[in-house]
Amino acid sequence: MAGQSTPAKTSSISFVRLALKVLLLFGLANLVLLPFASLNGLGRLSAYNRAFPGRLRLPYADNPSKAYNLSLYNLEAMFASHELASGQKPADEFRVLLIGDSSTWGFLLPAEQTLASQINQAGLQTADGRQVRVYNLGYPVMSLSKDLLILSQAMRYEPDLIIWLVTLESFPYDKQLFPPLIQNNPELMRRLIADFDLKLDINDPNFKQAGLFDRTLIGQRRALADLVRLQLYGVLWAATGIDQDIPETYTPRQEDLEADATFHDLQPPTLREEDLAFGILEAGLVMAGDTPVILINEPMFTSQGKNSDIRYNFFYPRWAYDGFRSLMAAKSQERGWNYHDLWDAVDNQEFTNSAVHLTAQGTAQLALRIGELITGSLGP
């Protein structure tokens, strides 16, 4: 029977057709992605705050499989997974955003014991009866530009008050463009540099520039996989409330220190204003606009051990830190910043594995002080 196809031949043809269709669809998917340098927009698609509750802090993890959490660079996805993105701001809420480093994020602390959570547990209210609700937007890198980047994303959530916890280690210029979160969001950071005329290199070689291949489906496979993994980890986040792998034991913060008086590439005896990225701090304050900002010099551990006459702790030689405190005090007086120096607000034994990470008890001490500042800022 000439012309009649055999089952094998038919199957072969249908497979080839199928393969061609798959290839065509794959090619189209790549083309669709080409105009986009990143998948930030896709990050808005999130099961958080819908299928499962939003996270109490921004996604970050050193050990994803145990933390049910992961670090990724898609800011939209990071915010979409946060409880802050759960919907319209309630009318009876006084919204406070907490910006800062790993200490604010709550390194080695469960989500319900972080600074934001502990302030919330105090149940503060404004004079007009609004509930004070504090949101944890800390992120474990010490860098003012990283704080600025997060603040730039956070402003759309209509904060009533911003509390920005800083420490000297966030200020040096060499700390500004090194965080991977910055390097992987070059367009956003470049815009901030341009808009606020920051003294940072817009063409810094560390910025990850997406080439043509990086924009394809294959080139963005890791970023896509991270988006999917973030959603999948949401199930165990919802089921367990765990978002960090907290080891039972850890190496305590350093007590005995090196006899080293240098701070980054700076030498004693005087810390100058131009050595520090105050411009980024000021940019943040401008960005906040009418929203009040409380600036806080965050607590730190003060060593009593070897060479503690030279250094306060692993991070800071005494001359640099003392200089920083003086500069901050002078600048805030000059500019009218609402600044509070809480460098010694927490007992020395309440620091964990670094000179700025706090125990739950230490966090409670700081929460009490910040709670007072919030109520103080609300007026009578």
């Binding site: 999948l232 165990l236 089921a239 367990t240």
Partner: protein, 483 residues
């Protein structure tokens, strides 16, 4: 098998299928499989064990082949047949020695996970094993006794490997003998890749030989069957008669075979590395079991585990079947939409099919026949008791095949009792089901109820499979029930 291994296997299999002439295919596959089983074996803490375990797999296979040679052959003919096997024997020995020689390749060496042992040790091993096989060939008059002993040895090895306690003891013993620290002994020291499946293939050959159902195979064909690289890691457990008949037929590999093979591999890779690995991020495990706080999430995470284990295993099977197709073999299916079945019996006819068939052929059916034939007179066992004993012990053994632990035993018993209950239910329903023929709506409802019950019964069974301790599993059951 990780993605790198699969990406190497695909072109290798395609090349074998495309350029190797039919009469050479067996030889090339033999060499490929020999290389693959050494490559796939992960590094082990015991010195050189990552070489000796695959070598022992080959050795046991050759020994089984020798033990299953027909014995009723006149002297000269038998001698001639042995001579015919000499090239294959030399090829296998030569491959082992060549793999051992990679120890001299320095940083180029990559076939074994760690540096192979000294050549003299390998030569000694090959020599001693050849002597053993020669001895077996001389003792063919005691073939029954020898094949029986070999089954016992294979089962004993399986028990040692599957029992954490015995593995630990064996590791300590080996460490003592080789001068390594006994304190560092661990059950995981004996992660002998592929042995669970190899042992079942070899026992199948030995039992069929004892029942005079095993044809005479050439050495190359038999070793090819036993260590066939696509099915080395996760099965399926093929029957030698089917595999070797297909191998001997030397049918050309069609374009459709290649296309379908590639499609199965692609589908397997998607199932395993995208779906199953994705679900693993949220599926039940010994870490999250104590952290889950609510009943609803506990169910969801258990369902995720059920899907994950199916996609993982059936994904691997798809990859094995696909690779088999690329070199011209139609390996048997291991899964047939098991989670859509409406009762437990059909579930077990569609889940890990080749393992279930193996147990049916070599344990369940012989035991049933034996109990029925002995159950006469005043010691007669009622039919239901025979079914209970056979189903429960079969499933118990299937459970223990995964590991000799209390939880795997409970998992096996769970299914054994479930199968028995279903058997009794079917017997009860059968005479009453005639009334249902005119009521399609009720039939559909019963089918749905059957599916719902079967699926959830299987899912609940996975708790014992996924978790390492009975207490942990029982606590989880209580959480699921909201207790």
């Amino acid at each position: 098998m990780d993605l790198t291994v699969i990406l190497v296997f695909i072109p290798a299999a395609l090349l074998v299928g495309l350029i190797v002439p039919g009469r050479w295919k067996g030889t090339v596959l033999l060499v490929s499989s020999l290389a693959a089983i050494f490559w796939l074996q992960a590094a082990l803490p015991l010195r050189n064990l990552d070489f000796w375990l695959p070598a022992l797999s080959v050795g046991l296979t050759v020994l089984t082949w020798a033990a299953t040679r027909p014995s009723q052959i006149p002297g000269d003919q038998a001698q001639a047949r042995w001579r015919l096997e000499l090239p294959a024997a030399l090829l296998i020995s030569g491959a082992l020695i060549a793999i051992g020689m990679t120890r001299y390749n320095g940083s180029f060496c990559c076939l074994t996970a760690t540096r192979p042992p000294a050549i003299w040790q390998i030569l000694l091993g090959v020599g001693l094993w050849s002597g053993l096989i020669w001895l077996v060939s001389r003792l063919k008059s005691r073939a029954g006794w020898f094949s029986g002993s070999l089954i016992v040895i294979l089962l004993a090895l399986l028990v040692i490997l599957k029992s954490p306690f015995l593995s630990l003891k064996a590791s300590a013993l080996l460490r003592g003998l080789t001068g390594q620290s006994i304190q560092l002994a661990a059950a995981s020291d004996f992660a002998w890749l592929g042995f669970s499946y190899l042992a079942f293939r070899l026992i199948h050959a030995l039992r069929d030989f004892q029942a005079s159902k095993l044809p005479a195979y050439s050495l190359a064909d038999f070793v090819n069957y036993a260590i066939f690289f696509p099915s080395w890691v996760a099965g399926p457990i093929d029957r030698s008669q089917r595999f070797i008949a297909e191998s001997s037929s030397q049918k050309p590999i069609l374009k459709t075979d290649r296309l379908e093979g590639l499609w199965r591999i692609l589908s397997g890779v998607f199932k395993k590395f995208v779906l199953a690995d994705g679900l693993a991020l949220m599926a039940l495990n010994s870490q999250n079991v104590v952290q889950i706080q609510s009943t609803g999430w506990a169910w969801l995470i258990l369902y995720a585990y059920a899907l994950r284990i199916f996609l993982d295993f059936s994904g691997y099977t798809d990859i094995a079947i696909g690779l088999g197709r690329l070199v011209g073999f139609h390996l048997p299916e291991n899964f047939d939409r098991p989670y859509l079945k409406t009762n437990l019996t059909t579930f077990w006819n569609s889940w890990h099919i080749t393992l279930a068939q193996w147990f049916r052929a070599y344990y369940f059916n012989p035991l049933t026949r034996s109990l029925r034939s002995r159950s006469k007179g005043k010691f007669a066992l009622p039919a239901w008791a025979v079914i209970l004993i056979c189903q429960v012990t079969t499933m118990l053994l299937i459970g223990l095949w995964h590991g000799i632990t209390i939880n795997f035993a409970i998992w096996g018993l769970w299914h054994g009792v479930g199968l028995f209950i279903h058997n009794r239910w079917s017997e009860w329903v059968r005479p009453r089901s005639t009334n249902l023929e005119n009521r399609p709506g009720l039939q559909r409802s019963l089918k749905f109820a059957g599916w719902l019950l079967t699926f959830n019964f299987v899912v609940l069974g996975w708790i014992w499979f996924a978790l390492p301790s009975p207490t942990m599993a029982w606590d989880y059951v209580q959480l699921l029930l909201g207790l």
